[in-house]
């Protein structure tokens, strides 16, 4: 085990990204797909923070990107859950395979 540095953080971030992609590909339930998307967004945040900390320590740009991504992720999750609940009301199911009509 070596002293943690930039490469360790990039490893964690890449692993988390592909874990999220795996969940995105194998899940059918919309809420679990949303959780996988959150994991992917978090891996991107971690990447921004790692580059900010180790490569450009004199600036705060990565930190601002992270804060804005968190805000946008919150908005995205809220809209997605409103859509999911609406879908459940009209179809009694939130599987992607049952949601095949654009308009009901």
């Amino acid at each position: 085990m070596t002293e943690p540095g930039l490469y360790h953080l990039l490893f964690i971030s890449a692993a988390l990204f592909f874990i999220g992609i795996y969940g995105f590909l194998t899940r059918k339930n919309l809420i679990t797909i949303l959780m996988s998307v959150e994991l992917v967004l978090n891996s991107v945040n971690l990447n921004f923070i790692a580059f900010n900390k180790y490569l450009w320590p004199g600036r705060l740009d990565g930190l601002f990107f992270t804060v804005f991504i968190i805000a946008i992720a919150a908005a995205e999750a809220a809209v997605a859950i409103a859509i999911i609940i609406n879908l459940y009301r009209s179809h009694q199911s939130i599987d992607v395979e049952n949601a095949e009509e654009l308009k009901y």
Partner: protein
């Protein structure tokens, strides 16, 4: 090996193990709880990197907001104790293979690349620095994106209310 190294590896293990568990479990409520712990692990890594503000935002917004929202929607849409249907084995194998190849390719690229750090002196990510930079309108300031994100959040909240409103029955 110092204590800080051990803490880093513990946080990394927590994040990755909970992330894997959340995409593999077939109980949706457990998946939400695993995501919660994975996000807490990432907040811990931010603390470890001395970015206290981002860590606090991560805990307040993700752990306190988004995960609670997800748990609420699970309660509204799912029967308790019901397992998710099994996915086809072929699709699991295909996804696992695709993900593994992507991960291997990415890590190969990352480890071959040598990152060059700038030699400017470190600016501490204190709240006063963040605040003055976020609201500055000079070069390198983030006042315009800040306002744009505020408008986006407002639009998203109003949009949620409109979407989730129960539509009135048309014929009666």
């Amino acid at each position: 090996m110092s204590g800080s190294t051990i803490i880093f590896y513990l946080l990394a293990t927590l994040t990755l193990v909970c992330g894997v568990a959340s995409v593999l479990t077939r109980l949706i409520f457990r998946a939400a709880i695993y995501v919660l712990f994975s996000l807490i692990g990432i907040a811990g890594i931010y603390f470890w990197l001395d970015y206290q503000f981002v860590a606090a935002v991560q805990i307040v917004v993700y752990v306190g907001g988004i995960v609670v929202l997800i748990i609420f929607s699970i309660f509204l849409t799912q029967q308790a104790g019901e397992k998710l249907p099994k996915q086809k084995i072929g699709r699991k194998i295909f996804s696992g293979l695709a993900v593994f190849c992507g991960f291997a390719l990415t890590m190969l690229q990352v480890f071959q690349h040598l990152f060059h750090s700038t030699s400017e002196e470190a600016l501490p990510a204190s709240v006063s620095n963040i605040g003055s930079r976020m609201l500055s309108i000079e070069k390198g300031g983030y006042a315009l994106p800040f306002e744009l994100v505020s408008i986006l959040l407002l639009a998203a909240l109003i949009g949620c209310i409109v979407i989730a409103l129960r539509a009135k029955p048309e014929t009666k």
